[in-house]
């Protein structure tokens, strides 16, 4: 029986020219996610009915959800970041959800993937802030209302606090996905263990637990995609509207 952590193993499907480059199961599921999101949106948007059908309503509610999130958290200037945040949200959401299909691979459970996305967000937000405010952007790190004597202490703290953003952003997503999937696998192991001892009867309890956990994981999949997107919005807001 596979151990609880074996599901996170990266396997090379197509070897690249060098060892470090390969098309892995992680890449495969990223591609699947992109295709599924594209098909989902294309199918939803192709008919453009006045009264939306099921697909169109789903696609529209996704659009509105992200649109409202940006408007509430960033404001009008955030509108031009809609494509970016929408893509990010859909990619993470569908990655999380597709990862829940038995036998699939959850690429968001790898910190390299989430850290890469978080670093991209972080760099983009910083560059946006720099482009909008120029060197005035660095006044961001000067705490307002603090005595000048404390500046040498407070400014490094603010900078570290700023730099810790991508780390906490990525760790949150990765840890949640990895913990959830490990938990599911551990409980799945209990099914065999308890079932073998008690002639199959004891397996019912862990199965019931797994059903509950799967529901919970779907919630987490939504929530984490939402948190990632909403924090991106907040960071954008910070960069666009310096205090």
């Amino acid at each position: 029986m596979a151990g609880p952590l074996e599901q996170f193993q990266i396997k090379s499907l197509v070897d690249g020219p060098v060892d470090a480059v390969a098309y892995t199961n992680s890449s495969l599921w990223m591609s699947v996610t992109v295709v599924v999101v594209t098909v989902f949106m294309l199918l939803g948007m192709s008919k453009r009915e006045m009264v939306p059908g099921r697909w169109q309503s789903l696609a529209e509610s996704m659009y509105e959800f992200v649109g409202n999130m940006i408007r509430d958290n960033v404001g009008d200037e955030g509108r031009k970041f809609f494509p970016f945040i929408f893509t990010l949200f859909m990619f993470i959401l569908f990655g999380n959800l597709l990862g829940l299909i038995p036998g699939s691979f959850t690429f968001t459970s790898h910190i390299i993937v989430t850290l890469c996305m978080a670093m991209f967000v972080f760099l983009m937000v910083t560059l946006v802030g720099l482009a909008k405010h120029g060197l005035h952007f660095f006044s961001f790190f000067v705490p307002s209302g603090a005595p000048v004597a404390l500046y040498p202490l407070m400014i490094p703290i603010e900078i570290i606090s700023y730099l810790s953003r991508p780390v906490s952003l990525s760790v949150r997503l990765f840890a949640n996905m990895m913990a959830g999937h490990t938990m599911l696998k551990v409980f799945a192991g209990f099914v065999f263990g308890l079932g073998a001892v008690t002639a199959g009867v004891g397996g019912i309890l862990p199965i019931a637990m797994m059903v509950a956990l799967t529901g919970f994981e779907i919630l987490v999949a939504f929530l984490q995609a939402y948190v990632f997107a909403v924090l991106t919005c907040l960071y954008l807001n910070d960069a666009l509207h310096l205090h």
């Binding site: 509105e64 649109g67 409202n68 509430d72 958290n73 404001g75 009008d76 200037e77 961001f140 790190f141 000067v142 705490p143 307002s144 209302g145 603090a146 202490l153 490094p156 703290i157 603010e158 570290i160 606090s161 700023y162 730099l163 810790s164 953003r165 780390v167 906490s168 760790v171 949150r172 840890a175 949640n176 919970f216 919630l219 987490v220 929530l223 984490q224 939402y226 948190v227 909403v230 924090l231 907040l234 807001n237 910070d238 509207h241 310096l242 205090h243």
Partner: protein, 127 residues
């Protein structure tokens, strides 16, 4: 809530819109704001909040240690910068947690732009 209207981007209007929306949400009973984050949370929400606090603390401390270690390697100044930045990172972590708990949510600087930004409900659930 109407969609796709080209509202004027004045802060005043935003503030009024928020007030109206909050009033609407309070009336319709589906409040999407967690309040100031200091209200008691229960069950999964509390766990999510705790997990998030832990992440913030560890992330900031880790960044501090990384900076200190890097500077030490670069400047060859023994363990001193590492120790210094360890504490600085810890302080940054506590700052982050303080901001999270007081509802300012990681905003750098002590004031949020637009004094009454609605609170985000990202501290909820298993975050």
């Amino acid at each position: 809530m109407t969609e796709g209207d080209n509202k004027p981007s004045s802060d005043d209007f935003d503030a009024r819109l928020r007030a109206a929306r909050n009033a609407y949400e309070a009336r319709s009973g589906r409040s999407s704001s967690t309040g100031d984050g200091t209200q008691p949370k229960s069950g999964m929400q509390g766990l999510g909040f705790a997990l998030r606090v832990g992440t913030e603390l560890v992330a900031a401390t880790g960044i501090g240690v990384a900076i200190g270690y890097g500077l030490d390697r670069w400047l060859g100044t023994g363990p001193w910068l590492l120790i210094f930045f360890l504490f600085l990172g810890g302080a940054a972590g506590v700052t982050n947690v303080y901001r999270l708990a007081s509802g300012m949510d990681q905003g750098v600087g002590w004031r949020r732009p637009g004094d009454n930004t609605p609170e985000k409900d990202d501290g909820r659930g298993k975050s």
